[in-house]
């Protein structure tokens, strides 16, 4: 029977980040991927923040197939018939090193896998892991394609559903409350048109988030990321909220309605949709993170629930790469002592706690409750839209005083509610 030091399940960012860190350290590492090639089962909104992980993978960034560095960050509140956009740009976003890049996972993951393979690590694609091998309460390998493959340690990087974590007994159930689904089209468009429409030059990129009517007032939103020669356009829908509202439109129809909004249609006009993708997103934050390790097993990336939405930024890929890195460090340490028990592998959690990964999750532990406030998705976009409509309106007769105009839309009760929401926001 084949025996490896490490079996990594899933060649996404966590798995590849782990494999990359382990390469050249004298360990027998096998990476298993169920898709035709790394990235073939992966979809993301598409933006990677480099700063927190730059030094964990110092050689990667010069050559990585990243799309555009983001110099425009915007949030748009979409009411039913109007919208308000806030755009932030600054010299700091144009200076190198750039803090974030749009990317496309099939391209990026495939490239990262090549770097891993060049360093001598074995990667097998088209192999689905069906189960784990247990011996005396210790994970000792996996069952894949009918074969039993043994390893000192298994690293579950098999994504947000992580059946490996489930089969290893590290995860019990998935609650709809903690998940959203992202639906995305990649739309190709001439780079000159992208630059014109998004006010960009050269390889500059834009990131736009939309909140409000897109999800019929429920938890979720829309996004756009500009790539080199395409636009990633998507929506995110909270599963619990939307799945229980039987008056809501079906998800594909919500997507199309968003796409047909004037604010969006103008940006993608003349473009060609070349892919339609969907992916589950963990939204539970710190409180939804369960076990991160067990006897002979570590969980990394989405499999560990490492995705964090704090409203202005929605992140997962840095946490995947970093958790892969720290899983690798844990394995290297365990290898020295030959001890792969849960006690020895608990180092992984310590490393994550000492790093930005769990520090971020801990400091933003209140974020899921705050950003899912239903008022952000219906009440505020409509109210602010109404106020702006009246403020900008010049009627046939005399114009009402500005403060009086605003107060028409803001009763004492509204303002009290606003203060209460503001107080909740101060928790993040």
């Amino acid at each position: 029977m084949e025996k490896f030091d490490v079996i990594i399940v899933g060649a996404g960012l966590a798995g590849l980040g782990c494999a990359y860190t382990l390469a050249g350290k004298g360990l027998d590492v096998l990476v298993l991927e169920r898709g035709d090639y790394p990235g073939s089962k992966n979809a993301s909104g598409g933006r990677l923040y480099i700063n927190p992980i730059r030094n964990l993978f110092p050689e990667l960034w010069d050559k990585a197939p990243l799309e555009r560095h983001i110099v425009h960050e915007s949030i748009t509140m979409m009411a039913r018939e109007r919208s308000l956009a806030m755009d932030y740009t600054g010299d700091e976003l144009r200076r190198e090193p750039h803090q974030s890049y749009s990317l496309l996972r099939s391209k990026f993951d495939r490239w990262l896998a090549e770097q891993v393979e060049t360093n001598g690590t074995m990667l097998m694609c088209k192999v689905k892991v069906n189960g784990v091998l247990k011996e005396n309460n210790q994970i000792v390998g996996v069952i894949a394609g009918g074969d039993e493959l043994l390893a000192d340690v298994v690293i579950a990087c098999d994504g947000v559903l992580s059946f490996v974590a489930e089969k290893a007994g590290l995860r019990t159930s998935r609650t709809a409350h903690d998940y959203a689904v992202g639906i995305k089209e990649v739309i190709t468009l001439e780079p000159t048109l992208i630059n014109e429409r998004f006010h960009l030059e050269g390889n500059e990129g834009a990131a736009r988030l939309y909140v409000g009517d897109i999800t019929s007032g429920k938890f979720g939103g829309g996004f756009i990321y500009t790539n080199k020669e395409s636009i990633s356009l998507g929506i995110v829908i909270g599963i619990e909220d939307m799945g229980t509202d039987h008056s809501a439109a079906e998800a594909p129809a919500l997507f199309d309605a968003f796409k047909q909004r004037r604010e969006i249609a103008d940006l993608i006009k003349g473009g060609t949709t070349v892919e339609y993708a969907a992916h589950l997103i963990a939204e539970g934050g710190y409180n939804a993170i369960g076990n991160l390790y067990g006897n002979g097993i570590l969980l990394a990336g989405d499999a560990a629930g490492l995705a964090l939405n704090i409203g202005f930024t929605v992140r997962g890929m840095e946490y995947a790469l970093a958790s892969g890195y720290y899983a690798a460090q844990t394995v290297l340490k365990a290898k020295e002592s030959g001890d792969y028990s849960s006690k020895s592998l608990s180092l992984y959690k310590t490393l994550l706690e000492e790093s930005f990964v769990l520090k971020d999750f801990l400091s933003f532990r209140e974020s899921p409750a705050v950003v899912s406030n239903p008022r952000f998705f219906n009440y505020y976009p409509e109210m602010i839209g109404n106020i702006l409509q009246d403020i900008y309106n010049v009627p046939t007769g005399t114009k009402e005083k500005l403060y009086a105009t605003m107060r028409k839309h803001l009763s004492v009760r509204d303002m009290w509610g606003f203060l209460k929401d503001l107080r909740r926001i101060t928790r993040i």
Binding site: K126, V127, A176
Partner: protein
């Protein structure tokens, strides 16, 4: 184009490699389970449909393997697996 055929056309752009068996099944006797309504609403590929008898049917051709239905309906209702290695959707952009 009707909504459904527009969605089919969109799915037609994606690359799918056929597998031998359906990787997701509604468990026998659960076709009328109320939880399946969430799958009808949420499935990005529109693969869940209710018939005149109130039973929900599922076709897995065009499945994007996101897992939304599994999270929305749970394992009591669905027998949910990823397709076999090397089959199913193969994203070229991601």
């Amino acid at each position: 184009m009707s909504e459904n055929s527009a969605l089919k056309a969109k799915l037609g752009i994606d690359v799918f490699k056929p597998g031998k068996v359906a990787h997701i099944k509604i468990k026998p006797g659960r076709e009328k389970d109320a939880r399946l309504q969430a799958a009808i609403l949420l499935c990005p590929a529109g693969l869940y449909r209710a018939n005149e008898k109130g039973e929900v049917t599922l076709t897995t051709d065009g499945c994007l393997e996101c897992g939304t239905c599994l999270v929305a309906c749970g394992i009591e209702v669905l027998d949910w697996n990823y397709p076999e290695g090397g089959t199913g959707v193969q994203y070229r952009y991601g």
